[in-house]
């Protein structure tokens, strides 16, 4: 198993490396160079020159790539093309908002999804199961902005239970209740987005296990329902469920971008979108790298958990 794990982790590192090369190479796709594209047709020779200077475009590509990697590693990301602020400062200021949103969502969505998935699996083909199935299908289908807008419309506009737009900038100092109140709708929106998938996949994972012959064997030994589920099904379902969870946490990365935009939360997602609009390529690359590393990391965790939880691999012959 050790060798398998090491192989998997090495693979994760290779993937991260390839991803970094691709992110870096994105700027090289341009017909001219970055400065030309960013500053547009009206750019003076002088401003172009200083831009190139700043991005060190006169150096060969591989040197720039290595320098870029070095800067990523040290956090010295240079200044933004849009507003001359330090990129690392901007990211630092906003990262907390994003991480908090994602973490709180995970805290709510994961247990809820596993619970719903278990209920659906245990009561498979009942009306509860069918309800969960239709409900989750709907939530998988609808865009985040629909859930968000609908929640705002109902809870904030019609019922006036909470603020539609909170002042997120002050939240870093706000007390816990205030944070919760301000973040309730974004968290709810994001939760709906990941909940559905996780619930469905948990249900499938458990049902797969429940239909195996060893479960039937346990029933025929006279095991009670709870014993069948806890002793026989769960140990075998843990791996797929953990796998499902990690995969969906990876999905949070995408969801966060849209949800931040709906609620105008000054997080990394909004920063990235703004930077794309201003074509602030260094910032996009830095945040993109951050998101991708998180994503690859969660996928790696999913794989590793699946390996660890497999008894065949844990106790080799």
């Amino acid at each position: 198993m050790g060798r398998l794990l090491i192989r998997r982790i090495l693979l994760g590192i290779v993937v991260t490396w390839v991803v970094s090369m691709m992110i870096f190479a994105a700027t090289e796709l341009l017909p001219g160079d970055v400065c030309h594209a960013v500053l547009g047709q009206g750019a003076t020779e002088k401003s172009l020159e200083s831009c190139r200077e700043r991005l060190q475009l006169n150096q060969p590509m591989h040197t720039r790539y290595l320098q870029w990697l070095g800067r990523l590693a040290t956090g010295e990301l240079g200044t933004s093309l849009a507003n001359d602020l330090q990129i690392s400062d901007q990211i630092g200021a906003r990262a907390w908002n994003t991480v908090r949103l994602a973490a709180l969502t995970a805290l709510i969505a994961v247990p809820l999804a596993v619970l719903l998935g278990l209920i659906a699996a245990i009561r498979a083909d009942s009306s509860v199961d069918r309800g969960i199935s239709i409900g989750t299908l709907c939530f998988i289908s609808v865009p985040e902005f629909f859930t968000g807008v609908l929640l705002v419309y109902i809870l904030a506009v019609q019922l006036r239970w909470m603020p539609a737009v909170a002042n997120y900038r002050d939240l870093t100092r706000g007390d816990f209740l205030e944070v919760i109140e301000a973040l309730a709708l974004p968290i709810a929106t994001l939760t709906f987005a990941v909940l559905a998938h996780m619930t469905r996949m948990t249900r499938t994972a458990v049902l797969n296990v429940m239909s195996s012959p060893y479960i039937e064997q346990a029933i025929l030994k006279g095991a009670s329902r709870s014993r069948v589920i806890i002793r026989h099904a769960l140990p075998n379902a843990v791996a797929p469920i953990v796998n499902v969870i990690a995969l969906n946490l990876a999905y949070l990365v995408s969801g966060v971008v849209v949800v931040e935009a709906i609620f105008r939360i000054p997080g990394l997602g909004t920063l990235m979108v703004e930077s794309v609009i201003y074509r602030d390529i260094p910032t996009v690359q830095a945040i993109g790298m951050l998101f991708c590393v998180t994503y690859v990391g969660f996928n790696l965790i999913a794989d590793v958990m699946a390996i660890i939880a497999n008894p065949r691999l844990r106790h080799p012959r």
Binding site: E216, K221, P311
Partner: protein, 600 residues
């Protein structure tokens, strides 16, 4: 004495794909007395397992018991509630499933699973139960009984798991044991030891048992009474001797007729075909082949086989020994690592696409699983028409009438032309398979286990058809099978494969007569016979119980059969290359022992 289990007029329904319920067991009655074994036999889908499971008031998901009474130890199970039924399961009745590999939970240690019934029903303390389990392991001839409990299921072999299932079922000393095809998934040689282990246990504990199987020869060894089922109904029930020797019901009679007599070591009679005289259609010479990209897995080693014109060459060996691989190499589907393939003495490219059209036409292949061997999206006309277009080239009307002819040849109505494979039964699909091969008018057909996915009766019909075609068309077969009786019933020449090597080959009569290769001898003595005392006789000779389920390593030096061989010579057999001993008529045996020693 009252019956342990008494099932009367049982009706069970199953939900069909449309959602409505259809009866799958219709008015079946079975009862079993203490110490008695009652066998339920019938084809797949006849309701055997459903009936057996009802003895524990259990029905598979999607099924429901709708009528009758089930009395276990004097209590009517259908009147009990869920909790009371649960209390009975595992304590008064225990179940041994068809596939032990699937019925053991991969995440739990073997010992805990074996004694789980005793824990659930609080029959004895855990330590006592584990100690009892070790005794059971010993009685079942399981290796390393002291430490077996601590292992995980994937750490022991299939045959051992199947015996562990028996230990699991017996740990709570139930009054009723239900065995569902417990040896079907095993090789013949393993089957015997498992079978005799079950028999001992049942006798020793005076347990009542229901034994589900489709194999009559197995039934004869273990059952006191037989219940024959078809389509959810009982066809005939009676004592084993009576059913075997004087079946009354027409269906039972067909079933009996389909059982092939076991190959007897014949006295060499008649001429036997001397291979060297005939013209060889295909032959392979010292073929080595395997799978895998980087780490090569060698499956066939130094295999030489030849198929003479119009003759049947049988290839026999246990699962995984490389039989299918051999067929795939000859057909040009798997390039060999070394060695040559010849067609009428001419060397062939190792990939089908590079062979000439006439070679492709002359060597056809028919696969094991009828369900996946024909494209489910092609109609029968298309399936049979393609080889005609490719190899024969006919006008539209001639093509049509040739398709009719082919269907008639395999005894199917010509109206089947427009059907999709989904609209055919397994046996019918296999006939289409055969017809497709025949369409090319080949000289030889490679038949890979063409009957093993079929019920006995259907399988026999296919074999009869093959014989007829051979007689009428003069086509030759390379007939691959794991079933010695089938091979013996119509091969001219037999090749015995073990771990990817030919251990013995020669004319049928010489292979079935001494001198034997030790593996051939084991195979021969493992084929169950339709005699009720056969098993006891074989077990008395003891040759079987040793070294069961050892992993076969085909890449080792020395004799591959060493770890299971009863007459092996240590330090010789496992160290030195095995000499090939040649006799007349192309009969060869690969063994260190002298021919005289092998004769005994």
């Amino acid at each position: 004495m009252s019956a342990v289990i008494d099932i009367q007029d049982l009706w069970v329904e199953a939900r069909s794909s449309g959602g409505s319920f259809q009866p799958i067991v219709e008015g079946v009655s079975v009862s079993v007395y203490p110490g008695e074994v009652v066998a339920l036999i019938g084809e797949s889908g006849s309701g055997k397992t459903t009936t057996a499971l009802s003895a524990m008031a259990y029905s598979k998901p999607g099924c429901r018991i709708v009528g009758g009474s089930i009395t276990l130890n004097g209590r009517d199970l259908l009147k009990l509630d869920q909790e009371e039924r649960r209390q009975l399961r595992g304590r008064e009745a225990a179940y041994v499933a068809q596939s032990a590999a699937a019925a053991f939970n991969p995440a739990i240690r073997i010992g805990d699973q074996v004694i789980e019934s005793t824990a659930i029903h609080q029959l004895m303390p855990r330590d006592d139960a584990l100690r009892e389990a070790v005794k059971l392991y010993q009685r079942l001839d399981l290796p390393d009984p002291e430490r077996l409990s601590n292992r995980y299921p994937h750490q022991v072999s299939g045959g051992q798991l199947q015996r562990l299932m028996a230990a699991m079922a017996m740990s709570s000393s139930p009054a009723l044991l239900i065995l569902d095809e417990p040896t079907t998934a095993l090789d013949v040689t393993t089957q015997i030891s498992v079978l005799s282990a079950f028999k001992d246990l049942i006798r020793g504990q005076n347990t009542a048992a229901i034994y589900v199987t489709h194999d009559l020869a197995v039934v004869a060894q273990i059952a006191d009474r037989i219940v024959v089922m078809q389509n959810g109904k009982v066809m005939e029930a009676g004592a084993t001797e009576q059913i075997i020797s004087r079946p009354e019901n027409a269906y039972t009679q067909t079933l009996m007729a389909a059982v092939r007599p076991p190959p007897k070591s014949m006295s060499v009679e008649g001429e036997g075909s001397d291979q060297t005289d005939d013209e060889m259609i295909v032959s392979v010479d010292s073929i080595t082949a395997g799978y895998g990209r980087t780490e090569t897995k060698i499956v066939l080693q130094d295999v030489s086989v030849a198929v003479p014109k119009g003759k049947v060459v049988g290839v026999i060996g246990e699962s995984g020994c490389g039989k299918s691989t051999l067929a795939r190499v000859i057909a040009g589907l798997l390039p060999q690592r070394s060695g040559e393939i010849y067609h009428h003495g001419q060397e062939l490219p190792n990939v089908a696409r590079r062979r000439t059209r006439s070679v492709l036409k002359n060597i056809q292949i028919v696969f094991q699983m009828p369900d996946v061997a024909i494209n489910p999206r092609h109609r029968v006309r298309e399936i049979l028409g393609r080889p005609l277009d490719l190899f024969i080239g006919l006008s539209a009307s001639a093509r049509e009438s040739r398709i009719d002819e082919l269907l008639e040849l395999v005894e199917l109505p010509t109206s089947y032309k427009t059907r999709l494979p989904g609209e055919l039964s397994g046996g019918e699909k296999q006939r289409i398979n055969l017809a497709r091969a025949l369409a090319a008018e080949p000289e030889v057909i490679l038949c890979d286990e063409v009957t093993s996915a079929l019920d006995t009766v259907v399988g026999k019909a296919i074999i009869d058809l093959l014989k007829k075609l051979q007689a009428n068309l003069g086509v030759a077969y390379l007939f691959i099978s794991h079933d010695l009786s089938t091979v013996a019933s119509f091969a001219d020449h037999v090749v015995v494969l073990y771990a990817g090597r030919v251990v013995e080959q020669g004319p049928l009569a010489s292979v079935l007569a001494p001198p034997f290769h030790p593996y051939t001898r084991l195979l021969l003595s493992s084929v169950p016979e339709l005699r009720t005392d056969w098993l006891d006789g074989v077990v008395a000779s003891k040759a079987h119980l040793d070294h069961l389920g050892q992993a076969v390593d085909s890449s080792k030096v020395g004799c591959p059969f060493f770890s299971r061989c009863a007459v092996a010579v240590n330090d010789v057999c496992n160290r030195q290359d095995v000499p090939l001993r040649k006799m007349d008529q192309g009969h060869t045996v690969a063994c260190h022992l002298e021919l005289d020693a092998l004769r005994g």
